[in-house]
């Protein structure tokens, strides 16, 4: 694949005229997708996808295009030549772009994330065997994800990451279920078995009569996967330079009025984690890490190429949304969480958050899957789903009681437009007085 991309880049470079510059970005995947319901296979298949994005530049005028690739010069070059000509035609009618920004001296390089994936038949057999008797529903996704960059100035970059992501739930009845995920680079069927055993244990709790809680404020523990949903809302425009400069950040109070989160909150974009390509689609190299929140105060923004040119800043991200977010650990031992919670809600998963008031970082969302009522330091019952509505500034500010010392590395199971390579590394959070409304 890498060889083909670079061959294609050379062939397209030969098509350029005069002082034209061409930037090429490649993205693709070879993915297995097996969907389960009721412990059986609902849909199974594979996707082979290769796409090329072209940015044709002359002086400060440019137009972009994107095409699916067949994988042979014979099929792809006629389509790409036609697209290049279209872009050339469009460019003639465009004014100069004041925010065009690409690197002319970026480093070439290659990264391959090493992995050990199982044979697909072995993986499916393991899933079916370990889930005997369970009402299992979910998806197995595995294979390689590719990204590449090439410019007519000579830069060449390539990134490959093979991974698996098995994301599933085990249902008791109705909406009472346990959510589990096993994702990574090296498959271990014993680890799958262990996680399935944990799910069976939690499912026994889900069989107890559920408790319906009344609207009001409750102490909660947000497990890392639930905290991820909250941070996704912070990330929705919260860390991008463009959204910050145009007043659209949900963290506008932190950026304009010095609002702070609890000093224990430290967030960074850890590009160096390595699942994502280390380069941007304009050829810029990403730094190892960008500090976003330090000791509860807003620090740096994520800056894409266009914003960097517009605001005179340095590019530090491919997009202005975290893709490798990290939260520093706290001091609360995971084994002490239930005791520290004492009486309240143990929330494993949140669902479908959105803003109630973006300016105040006030968000709403639902509990989902295995969330428990805890009383006197003991898990007593599953809860019926409940809506929360509260401010992130309260949740991670004045009402934050602590973050766990242990963290979880979570790989995004999302597959919109292709398998995601986003990930997070997060602790859990113990929070006082989270407001529940419905």
């Amino acid at each position: 694949m890498q060889d083909y991309f670079f061959t294609l880049a050379d062939a397209l470079q030969a098509q350029l005229r005069g002082t034209e510059t061409l930037l090429l970005s490649f993205d693709g995947e070879d993915s297995d997708f097996v969907r389960f319901n009721h412990g059986q296979v609902r849909q199974a298949g594979g996707v082979t996808r290769r796409a090329l994005t072209l940015d044709l530049i002359e002086a400060d005028r440019h137009a972009a295009g994107r095409a699916q690739l067949a994988g042979s010069l014979e099929q792809d070059m006629p389509v790409l030549r036609h697209l290049l000509n279209d872009l050339r035609g469009q460019r003639a009618h465009l004014p100069a772009d004041p925010y065009l920004n690409y690197t002319t001296d970026g480093p070439s390089g290659e990264t391959r994330v090493q992995s050990e994936l199982p044979r697909r038949d072995h993986a499916l057999e393991a899933i079916v065997d370990t889930s005997q008797g369970l009402d299992l529903v979910g998806i197995w996704a595995a294979g390689a994800i590719y990204a590449g960059f090439a410019s007519s100035l000579g830069q060449r970059n390539w990134h490959t990451c093979e991974s698996f992501n098995f994301d599933w739930s085990c249902y008791h009845t109705g909406d009472k279920a346990v959510k589990v995920n096993y994702a990574g680079l090296r498959w271990d069927s014993a680890e799958l078995q262990s996680r399935m055993q944990d799910a069976r244990a939690d499912l026994e709790i889900m069989k107890r009569p559920p408790r319906t809680i009344e609207p009001g404020r409750y102490r909660v523990y947000l497990a890392p996967r639930a905290l991820w949903e909250v941070l996704e809302m912070m990330a929705w425009g919260g860390f991008g330079l463009k959204s910050q400069r145009t007043g659209q950040s949900p963290l506008i109070l932190m950026q304009t009025e010095g609002q702070r989160l609890d000093p224990a909150v430290n967030l960074s974009e850890h590009h160096g984690r390595g699942f994502e390509p280390p380069f941007t689609s304009e050829g810029f190299a990403k730094p190892e890490r960008v500090s976003l929140v330090v000791n509860g105060a807003y620090r740096d923004s994520l800056i894409g190429a266009r914003s960097a040119r517009e605001y005179g800043a340095r590019v530090n991200a491919a997009g202005e949304w975290p893709a490798s977010l990290e939260m520093a650990p706290g001091t609360l031992a995971a084994r002490e969480v239930i005791d520290a919670l004492d009486t309240g809600l143990y929330v494993n998963n949140l669902w479908y958050p959105n803003f109630s008031d973006r300016n105040r970082a006030r968000i709403t969302g639902m509990t989902r899957f295995a969330c428990f009522w805890v009383e006197g330091g003991e898990i007593r019952a599953p809860i019926d789903v409940m809506r929360f509505d509260d401010s992130i500034f309260r949740m991670l500010g004045e009402n934050l009681l602590g973050l766990t010392h242990e963290r979880e590395l979570l790989l995004d199971p999302g597959t919109y437009g292709g398998r995601s390579s986003h990930s997070v590394e997060l602790p859990g959070a113990l929070i006082e007085g989270l407001a529940f409304t419905l």
């Binding site: 594979g46 697209l83 009618h93 529903v137 996704a141």
Partner: protein, 481 residues
């Protein structure tokens, strides 16, 4: 139809090995995106996509393979991969192969277009966008402003080993305007001109969407919202404009009625449904004023088509009639699994995803009364316009939605603008509080361009048309910490 797709299908059909059943769905898309942000012309973006989705049924199993290699060898290689998947998973297959549709139909469809996209040059389109952009920047407090115009031409060709040959061509226009007003730490956003609601057709659709003429109003309302009071917190009547009805229909009627959710396929991701199979035919979903149709023929609506992606002919049917639940949203396979009647709504978002149960055009039929008459019937309430926030539980029951703009209604008259209007409720009871449905003249076509569900994930466009509607005694509230 793109000649390449037709050639690929014919060559493949002439060489494909014998199996119990095969189908080939070819998709070609040409998309152009133009935008002007803060009076700066953004680089135009052109997308050219071609790909194939092959399904094989063999020895009691079903498998698929998707590829963008449309050569005969590429398609045959994908066919082999699909067959391997069918054989591998046959022992664990949830569905009987009898439940899977085997299309043998022929037919076609093309979106009616009065004013083709190509009728305006790129210079003229950018000129319109620049004018629209300038019309949004009416004050220093407008800190970000956009005008955009997107066109999609999508060709699909479905062929099968049973003789199916269905060609469809869709033309979709997706424009929008956005103004962001800011003062200190208060920011308000207003959109219009068709934002988030694509339509089928050509450039003639722009005038139906208020593009580009709504620019000044969008900007003025964004400024107005900056200084408006918060929406009050109380239980009161709620008048939802069609731009918000689209979201209300989508989340709390459309998704709960999807058969694949009810059958449990979506429980790990998009969720389940409070609706169960035994409810169809007698469950009171809403007041007697509630009439909901699946209407794949509605003029200009985004999901107009003649066949779904499994080749089932599409026809208009009532899902809810006079408040009673009649039938679910579900394609041929889901209908076979349940024995229930459904809809031609097995749809795939692109060439690399399998068809699943989706919404298409899902509408609320008009009632009686002009907008003024609806307002006159409200003693104390809030009008809410244009969705901006959506959240609902995984059974599609407890919801909270927010809008860009609210207006108070007192003693049957519209009063001042309020900001951050939100409301919450429960689907199972909310629709029973429907007390007024606007007349045909107030009926508007909108839609949702980012409907997400499925594993692997799929995002697709759907249409929702509705008049404004009034709901009694709803919990409304505003923003603030």
């Amino acid at each position: 139809m793109e000649p390449l797709l037709e050639q690929s299908a014919k060559r493949f059909a002439g060489r494909v090995p014998t199996v119990d059943f095969w189908s080939l769905r070819l998709v070609g898309e040409h998309k152009e995106s133009l935008a002007v942000r803060q009076d700066v012309v953004q680089p135009p973006d052109t997308l050219v996509t071609r790909g194939a989705f092959i399904t094989v049924i063999q020895a009691g199993g079903t498998g698929y393979a998707a590829t963008s290699d449309l050569s005969v060898s590429g398609l045959l290689a994908a066919f082999e991969r699909a067959r391997e998947w069918a054989l591998l998973t046959a022992p664990w297959s949830l569905l009987s192969t009898r439940d899977l549709t085997r299309c043998a139909r022929t037919g076609g469809y093309e979106t009616p277009v009065a004013e083709p996209w190509e009728g305006l040059s790129i210079e003229e389109k950018i000129g319109q966008l620049r004018t629209a952009s300038r019309s949004l920047k009416i004050d220093d407090r407008i800190v970000d402003w956009w005008a955009w115009l997107v066109y999609r031409r999508i060709d699909t060709l479905l062929v099968s080993g049973c003789g199916a040959w269905i060609e469809q061509r869709f033309h979709i226009i997706d424009p929008g305007l956005k103004a962001v007003a800011n003062m200190g730490s208060q920011t308000q956003v207003r959109t219009g001109g068709g934002a988030r609601g694509a339509r089928q057709g050509g450039l003639e659709q722009l005038k139906h969407l208020g593009f580009p003429d709504q620019g000044p109003r969008v900007a003025e309302e964004a400024l107005m919202l900056l200084e408006a009071p918060e929406c009050p917190e109380d239980r009161m009547d709620l008048l939802l404009m069609p731009s918000q009805m689209a979201l209300q229909i989508h989340e709390s009627i459309g998704h709960p009625l999807e058969l694949d959710r009810i059958l449990g396929d979506e429980r790990n991701y998009a969720g389940t449904s409070f609706v169960t199979l035994d409810m169809f035919g007698h469950y009171r979903y809403g007041s007697t004023l509630l009439n909901v149709t699946f209407d794949p023929g509605c003029d200009g609506e985004a999901a107009r088509y003649a066949f779904d992606d499994e080749g089932t002919p599409a026809e208009r049917v009532h899902l809810i009639r006079n408040g009673l639940l009649q039938r679910p949203l579900g394609g041929a396979s889901s209908q076979a699994r349940t024995g229930l009647p459904g809809t031609a709504s097995a749809r795939a978002c692109d060439w690399d995803r399998p068809p699943i149960d989706r919404m298409a055009n899902l509408n609320i039929e008009p009632g009686q009364g002009s907008l003024a008459e609806l307002v006159a019937g409200i003693e104390r309430g809030v009008l809410m316009d244009t969705n901006r926030s959506w959240s609902i539980d995984d059974s599609r029951n407890k919801f909270q939605f927010g809008c860009e703009l609210g207006r108070l209604i007192e003693d049957g008259e519209l009063r001042g603008v309020v900001r951050n209007p939100n409301y919450r409720g429960i689907s199972a009871t909310f629709w029973r509080s429907l007390c007024a449905v606007g007349e045909q003249a107030s009926f508007e076509v909108h839609g949702v361009t980012n409907c997400g569900k499925g594993e692997p994930n799929q995002m697709i466009h759907v249409g929702h048309a509705s008049p404004p509607c009034v709901f009694r005694d709803v919990e409304v509230f505003g923003g603030g910490a």
